[in-house]
């Protein structure tokens, strides 16, 4: 039988892959955004696993909201990305260091 811990380990591995992705692809903003999506997917899986094994439906409701928020966030993130490209001509993160202290 598949235990809860298996699902949890799976979701944590995916989470870490997403982290590593952020780490590795730090210069490419689109890659970063996609790795964030990966992390969110892992977390959703976690919630649903708990919802199933705990017979509590609130986990799925929460996933519902997470999906909503993630969609909104992607929309705005891409809008910012477009603006950045329009203003600077590339999506290299090194050019967006004007907040440098």
């Amino acid at each position: 039988m598949i235990a809860l811990s298996d699902y949890l380990i799976l979701s944590s591995i995916v989470f870490c892959i997403g982290l590593a992705g952020i780490f590795i692809n730090r210069t490419n903003i689109i890659m970063i955004l996609m790795c964030v999506e990966l992390i969110l997917a892992a977390v959703n899986t976690n919630f649903i696993a708990f919802s199933f094994y705990g017979s509590d439906l609130s986990g799925q409701i929460f996933v519902f909201f997470i999906l909503t928020v993630a969609a909104a966030e992607v929309a705005i993130g891409l809008a910012i990305l477009t603006l950045m490209y329009r203003n600077r001509g590339s999506i290299d993160i090194d050019v967006t260091n004007t907040l440098k202290g």
Binding site: L19, I22, F23, R26, T27, I29, I32, I93, D94, T96, N97, T98, L99, K100, G101
Partner: protein, 653 residues
């Protein structure tokens, strides 16, 4: 009687305030009339009080007039204590003050600050009255400080003179040092007795016997010594004497009033008033006696080498104050007050006569430029002669009685070091005679060394100057003869002064005393008489007979001459140690503590530190998003690790 006391104290104050505020508008004549009227009223009433208390033996008047302040359980009030001692002091102060007021009409005739001067000397008279008539320590201290303040104002009266400003500051500061000790003494009195009232303190004086302060020191000794430090400052005993010669920068009337007759005697008066306390401590009395003896001898020596007419009289005052202090030390309080009284008269006389000479010679004060004045200024000469004879203790004059009594009292005392004190005061007679007669000879006798222009205008001074001289000469001659017996041995001052039975100098004195006249005849066989004659002859030799011998001796004893001329180095010492020391401390405080520490380190330093911290943290804000992400991830890892470890490794189970 209360009204009479109030009038005595307040009349000069009224005069001072009126003239002080409206003097310029009222004009000179009215101003001096108002103030003289005020002091004259006080004089007449003081004589009446004297009659009432001393001659008619009235009761002691001790009453609190007005509650000044109430602190906790302590009640400080303005009150009057009038007993025989007070009555004597009132008469002395008011009479001398009146003489000085009249004298000032002539002396300050040409001065711009005429009305201001009268206002000040009346104010001084008020302050002195307050001091004398007070019945508690606080009011005494108020009067004490007030006379110091007015003395400061008067010494620096000619404030455009640089030397006057330095002198008055010096006087005030040295006085302050004495007041510091005095205040500490008062504080301890309050601590031990719980009250500042005289009557209550003296009635409880047994309380303090046997108590200790600061370890093993007897409390009463410490308190008396501190009170005496105040007296040292005010009455110019060594080492706080340095202000008195400088105070000669002020006009001569105030030298007579303040620095001969009244303010400097405040210290003597205070110790007499505190006699119940001083009697409890032999150590304090010995210290008083020794310091008095030192002052008497060494200040007299300095009078020999002075060339300014007022400075000679100033050192004479210092020496005589030493005599009074010695008398206090051997518990002969009434003798000290007696000498205070006679000295007030003849010293004021000598100062005023000196002022008369100065005015006549158009403000020339160097005695090397005087001489042979007796023909041109007969009244001044005769009164000066009388005053000088009184000062040196010529038999029959007032000073003779008081000085001889002091010497005898010291002789009979058996305090430690009394023998040395006796030697000092006897030698002091010789020295006193020497410098006084030197002054007299150099100024009035011999060839005239006055420059010719001044000599043409030389004449006796105005009556407003000479009348006070005559009026002061009279008591200088006769008052000793008449008052010695009742004052010293007849119990005039009995209800004011307590003497412990172990200090029996006065008792022995009394037992040897026959009558005033007998003292004169007996004097021929006493040592002080021959000392005086010797001093007189020496002065005559050096000043009139062989004037060149003075220079020979001066060149032979160069080092002693140097020591005397530099006033034993007290001024240099004060200047180097205290003045320069204070300046140095101020400098250090300014440079190090203010500039370096507060400005640089704290103020600028905290700004620099904040900036440094900021610069430290600034590189964290790189502006690169992936740096932030990196930090986030690494912190996540660290937090996870921390949680795992902090849970006591339970996950390993």
């Amino acid at each position: 009687m209360l009204d009479i006391y109030l009038t005595i104290v307040l009349a000069p104050l009224m005069g001072s305030v009126i003239v002080g505020l409206a003097g310029n508008r009222l004009g000179r004549k009215i101003s001096h009339s108002i103030t003289i009227l005020g002091v004259a009223i006080s004089t007449v009433l003081s004589l009446y009080v004297f009659n009432h208390h001393v001659l008619n033996n009235a009761d002691i008047f001790n009453q609190n007039i007005y509650t000044w302040m109430q602190i906790g359980g302590l009640n400080i009030s303005v009150g009057f204590l009038v007993d025989n001692l007070t009555a004597v002091m009132l008469v002395v102060v008011s009479f001398v003050s009146l003489m000085v007021h009249i004298y000032t009409i002539g002396y300050m005739h040409d001065d711009k600050g005429y009305t201001k001067f009268f206002s000040y000397i009346s104010l001084f008279t008020f302050a002195m009255f307050t001091l004398v008539i007070s019945n508690n320590f606080m009011q005494l201290f108020f009067g004490w400080e007030a006379v110091g303040l007015v003395s400061y104002l008067l010494i620096g009266f000619w404030h455009h003179k640089e030397s006057a400003i330095e002198a008055n500051l010096k006087a005030f500061l040295v006085n302050r040092v004495g007041d510091f000790g005095f205040l500490l003494g008062i504080a301890f009195v309050l601590m031990f007795f719980g009250t500042l009232d005289y009557a209550e303190t003296f009635s409880q004086k047994e309380l303090i016997v046997g108590q200790t302060l600061f370890g093993d020191f007897s409390a009463i000794t410490v308190v008396c010594l501190l009170l005496f430090i105040g007296a040292m400052g005010k009455s110019a005993q060594v080492p706080l004497h340095v202000w008195l010669p400088g105070s000669m920068e002020g006009p001569t009337p105030i030298s007579a009033l303040i620095h001969a007759a009244t303010m400097v005697t405040a210290g003597i008066f205070m110790v007499s008033r505190m006699s119940p306390l001083f009697e409890l401590s032999d150590v304090a009395l010995t210290v008083v006696m020794i310091i008095g003896a030192i002052t008497a001898l060494f200040m007299g020596l300095l009078g020999i080498v002075q060339n300014d007419i007022k400075k000679v009289v100033a050192y004479s005052t210092l020496s005589q104050l030493g005599y009074m202090t010695v008398a206090l030390g051997v518990s002969a309080y009434s003798v000290a007050i007696f000498h205070l009284m006679t000295h007030a008269f003849f010293k004021a006389l000598l100062f005023l006569a000196a002022g008369s000479v100065i005015v006549a010679l158009h403000h020339e004060q160097d005695i090397r430029k005087m001489g042979g004045l007796r023909k041109k200024m007969p009244i001044t000469y005769i009164t000066s002669l009388l005053g000088t004879l009184a000062l040196i203790g010529f038999p029959g004059f007032a000073g003779f009685y008081s000085k001889d009594m002091i010497i005898e009292a010291v002789h009979y005392s058996d305090l430690p070091f009394a023998g040395w004190a006796y030697f000092a005061v006897v030698l002091g007679v010789f020295i006193t005679a020497f410098y006084s007669l030197r002054l007299l000879f150099l100024v009035f006798h011999g060839k005239s060394r006055v420059d010719s222009h001044t000599e043409e205008h030389l004449h006796e001074t105005a009556p407003s100057i000479t009348v006070p001289l005559v009026l002061l000469a009279i008591p200088s001659v006769v008052i000793g003869y008449f008052t010695i017996e009742p004052m010293l041995f007849g119990g005039w001052l009995e209800n004011a002064i307590t003497i412990d039975s172990s200090h029996h100098a006065l008792e022995k004195l009394k037992s040897h005393f026959h009558s005033a006249f007998a003292l004169i005849t007996h004097s021929v066989v006493t040592l002080p008489f021959w000392m005086m004659i010797g001093g007189g002859i020496t002065a005559w030799v050096f000043c009139l007979y062989r004037t060149d011998w003075a220079e020979i001796i001066q060149s032979k004893f160069k080092r002693i001459n140097y020591v005397l001329n530099s006033l034993y180095g007290f001024d240099r010492f004060n200047e180097i140690v205290f003045v320069k020391g204070a300046l140095k401390i101020g400098n250090i405080l300014w440079k190090i503590s203010d500039m370096a520490l507060i400005d640089k380190l704290l103020v600028n330093g905290s700004a620099k530190f904040t900036r440094y911290l900021g610069a430290f943290i600034k590189p964290v804000q790189t502006g690169y998003v992936y740096h932030y992400a990196f930090f986030m991830i690494v912190s996540l890892m660290l937090v996870l690790g921390w949680v795992l470890i902090a849970s006591d490794y339970s996950f390993l189970s």
